[in-house]
Amino acid sequence: MSETAIVIENLGKRYVIGKQKQGVDGMSHILEGVIRSPGAWLKLRREGKLRQVDFWALRNVSLSMNQGEVVGIIGRNGAGKSTLLKLLSRITVPTEGRFRINGRTASLLEVGTGFHQELTGRENIFLNGAIMGMAHAEIAKKFDQIVDFSEIENFLDTPVKRYSSGMYVRLAFAVAAHLEPEVLIVDEVLAVGDAAFQKKCLGKMENIAQSGRTVLFVSHNMDAVRTLCQRAILFDGGEIRADGHVDTVVEDYFSRFSTSSGQQIRGAYGLAIEQVVLKNDGGQETRQFCPGEDLIIEITFDAQKCLEKPYFILAVRGQKGNCFTANMLLDGHRPKFLNGKGKISCRFKSIPLLPQRYMVQLAIKANNGIDVLMHYEDIGSFIVTADLATYGYKGEFQTRVSEATSVVIPYEWQLPDGTSATVSLSAPVSAI
C-alpha cells in the first residue's frame, strides 16, 4: 500500500491585509474616505492602492504523501504550517495551485471546536461527529469506543462547560480519531492534555498510520514529532525549507535558529533579531553544554525605529516546560533605548540541567510592559551532555531520567539510620 494519499502542486495562499482590515472596520471607514475627499478616494480606489498589502502565507508548495505515512510539519510561528492545514482541511480556498486527497479527511485544528458548551458529552459526540461528516448510524456504532477512549463515561450527561480542559481534549480527540478517516490532520492539540493522555493519543495516531492511513501532524514538540513521524517537513516564510527523514529535518530546524542561518526574526515596529549566538564559559560559540557551565546568550538586534526602554524576557525551555528565565519585567533592568544595530547578552550561571535538548525563547515588550514587540520565539537551542554520574546519580533506574524534571539542584537525604547522603553536581567540568 504505497499509493499516494495527498498530492499538492504549487499551492499558494495570499491574504490581502489592507483590504481585509477595511472590511472588518465596516463601511464607516469607506464612508469616511469618500466624504473627506471623494476625488482622491476614487483615484486611489481605481489604482487599487487603497492600503492593499499582499501577504503570501504560503507559496509554491508542492509535495506528495503516500498512504500510511505519518508526516510531521514543523516550523516557527507564522511559517505557514497552519495555513497549509487550513487549506487541506478546506477551511479556506487556495489562491493558486491545486491539491488532491484520496479518501476522507478529518482534521483536528483546535480542541473542542464544534462542541457546544451547554450540551452534554453525549450530545456533543453526536453533534461533533455530524460536523465532521459522520452519519448518525456510524456515530452510534462507534459511540462506545469513543467514550471508552476518552475516559469520560461518568460525565456523559454533564454539560461540557463543566468539563476540565483535559476531559475536553480527550473527548475531542476521541471523536476525530474514531472517524476512521483516510487522512487525519492534527494541529498542536495534544499540548493541552496530560502526559498519559498524550501518550495514548500518539499511540492511537500510530495505530491509524499502521492501518494504512495518512497522518499529518503539526507540533512544536519535537520529541512527539520524532517519536511519531518518519518524515518531517520544515516550513519557513510560507515555503518548504526541508523535507526528509525526521531526524535530519528536526536537526535542521534546531540549527536554523543559531548563528549563521542568516535569517532574521521579525518583531513589531521594525525590530528584528539578526543573530543569536550561544557561548560557554570560555566565550566559545557552542551548542553543547555541560551541567554547571555558564550559558551565555548573545543577541544581535536591529531596531529601525528608536524603541525606548523595552523589556527583554529570555526563557530556557526543556521537554517538560520552562526551566528558568531572565525577565526584565521582574528584575527591572532594561536598555535605555534600542536604535540601529546593537547587542544584548545574558549569562545564566552554572546551569543545573539534565542531559536533554533545550530551547531558548525570547519575548520583547514595549516600555509600558504590555505591548508586544515580539511574541515568544524560539531563538536558539542547545543540548546538555554529561554522564549521569556527574550529577551524583548512582541509581539502578537511570533510564528514568527522561521522566525527570530538567532542573537539578543539590540536595541531601537524612536516612532513618542517621546517615546522610548528599547529591550534588561534581565540580564544574569545563569541557568534555
Binding site: G12, Y15, Q20, G23, V24, G26, M27, K86, L87, S89, R90, I91, T92, V93, P94, T95, E96, G97, R98, F99, R100, I101, N102, G103, R104, T105, S107, L109, E110, T113, G114, H116, E118, L119, E123, F126, L127, A130, I131, M132, G133, A135, H136, P159, E182
Partner: protein, 272 residues
C-alpha cells in the same frame, strides 16, 4: 474511494456533493440550537407558546379593541394569530440565520463543511418553534369552535413560501454580516418595523386600494394574506397581485441569496 480535488478558483463542483454528504448536519445543527435555546429555562419549550400568546393579546387589544379595526367576521384573536405565526417565524428565522455565521465563527474558522447548512438550519430551528406555536392556533380554534375551511389544505404552500423567504433573506443577511457587522443593528430594525408594516395586527384590506399594490411589495403581505385566507376563509379574500408579487420576490431573493452566499462563502474563514 472518493477523491477530492481542490484547485484555486474551482471549488464549485465539489460543493453540492458535500451538501448531500453532510445532509444530516442540517438537522443536527437545528437540533443543537433548539436544545440550547431552552436550556436553563424553567418553563422550557412552553416559551414558544407563551410568547405568541402574549403578543397576540396585546395586538388584539391595541388593534381590535382600541383601534376598532375590522375583523371581517372572524374572531379578532384568530385574525391576529394568523398573521403572527408566519411573521414570528420569518422574523426569528432571519435574525437567527443572519447571526448564525458570526455566532458560529469558531466552527467556520476551524472545521470545513458547507456553510450553507448553518444558515438553513437556523431557519429549521425557527420552523420547529413555528410548529409548536401553531398548537396555539389549534387551541384557539377549539375555543372559538371555529372550523377551518377546505382552503386550509393549501396552508403548506404558504408555509413553504414563508420558509423560502426566510432562507433567502437569512442567507443574504448572514453573508453580509460576516463582512459588515452593521447588519447586527439593521436586522432588529427590520424586525421591529416589519411588525407594523406587515398586516400582522390588522387586515391588509384596510389599506386604501390605490396603495394596495405598493403595499404588496412587502413579500410578507402576500404570505400573511395567504395564511388568513386559507385558515379563516373567504371573508379574508385573497388579493392575487400581492400573492404573485410575493412568489416572484421570494424566488428572486432565494436564488440570489444562495448565489451571493456561495460567492462570499469561500472567504468567510479569512474575514470572520
Amino acid at each position: 474511494m472518493n477523491q477530492l480535488v481542490i484547485e484555486a478558483g474551482r471549488t464549485e463542483r465539489q460543493y453540492w456533493r458535500d451538501l448531500w454528504r453532510y445532509r444530516e448536519l442540517f438537522f443536527f445543527l437545528a437540533w443543537r440550537d433548539f436544545l440550547v435555546r431552552y436550556k436553563q429555562t424553567v418553563v422550557g419549550v412552553s416559551w414558544s407558546v407563551i410568547r405568541p400568546l402574549l403578543t397576540m393579546l396585546i395586538l388584539t387589544v391595541v388593534f381590535g379593541k382600541l383601534g376598532k379595526m375590522p375583523s371581517g367576521g372572524s374572531p379578532y384573536p384568530l385574525l391576529v394569530l394568523c398573521g403572527m405565526l408566519p411573521w414570528n417565524f420569518f422574523s426569528t428565522a432571519i435574525s437567527d440565520s443572519g447571526n448564525s455565521m458570526v455566532a458560529n465563527s469558531s466552527l467556520i474558522s476551524k472545521i470545513y463543511f458547507p456553510r450553507l447548512i448553518i444558515g438553513v438550519s437556523s431557519v429549521i430551528t425557527s420552523f420547529v418553534d413555528f410548529l409548536i406555536s401553531a398548537l396555539l392556533m389549534v387551541g384557539l380554534m377549539f375555543w372559538y369552535r371555529f372550523v377551518p375551511p377546505v382552503s386550509a389544505l393549501l396552508l403548506p404552500l404558504f408555509t413553504l413560501l414563508a420558509f423560502g423567504a426566510s432562507v433567502g433573506i437569512g442567507l443574504w443577511i448572514a453573508a453580509l454580516m460576516v463582512k459588515y457587522r452593521d447588519f447586527r443593528f439593521i436586522v432588529p430594525f427590520i424586525v421591529q418595523f416589519g411588525l407594523y408594516l406587515s398586516p400582522v395586527g390588522f387586515k391588509s384590506s384596510i389599506v386604501p386600494d390605490r396603495f394596495r399594490l405598493l403595499y404588496s411589495l412587502n413579500p410578507m403581505v402576500g404570505i400573511i394574506d395567504g395564511f388568513r385566507w386559507s385558515l379563516l376563509g373567504a371573508q379574508n379574500s385573497l388579493y392575487l397581485p400581492a400573492l404573485i408579487i410575493s412568489i416572484i420576490e421570494v424566488a428572486v431573493i432565494l436564488i440570489s441569496g444562495v448565489l451571493y452566499f456561495r460567492r462570499t462563502e469561500r472567504t468567510f474563514a479569512d474575514v470572520i
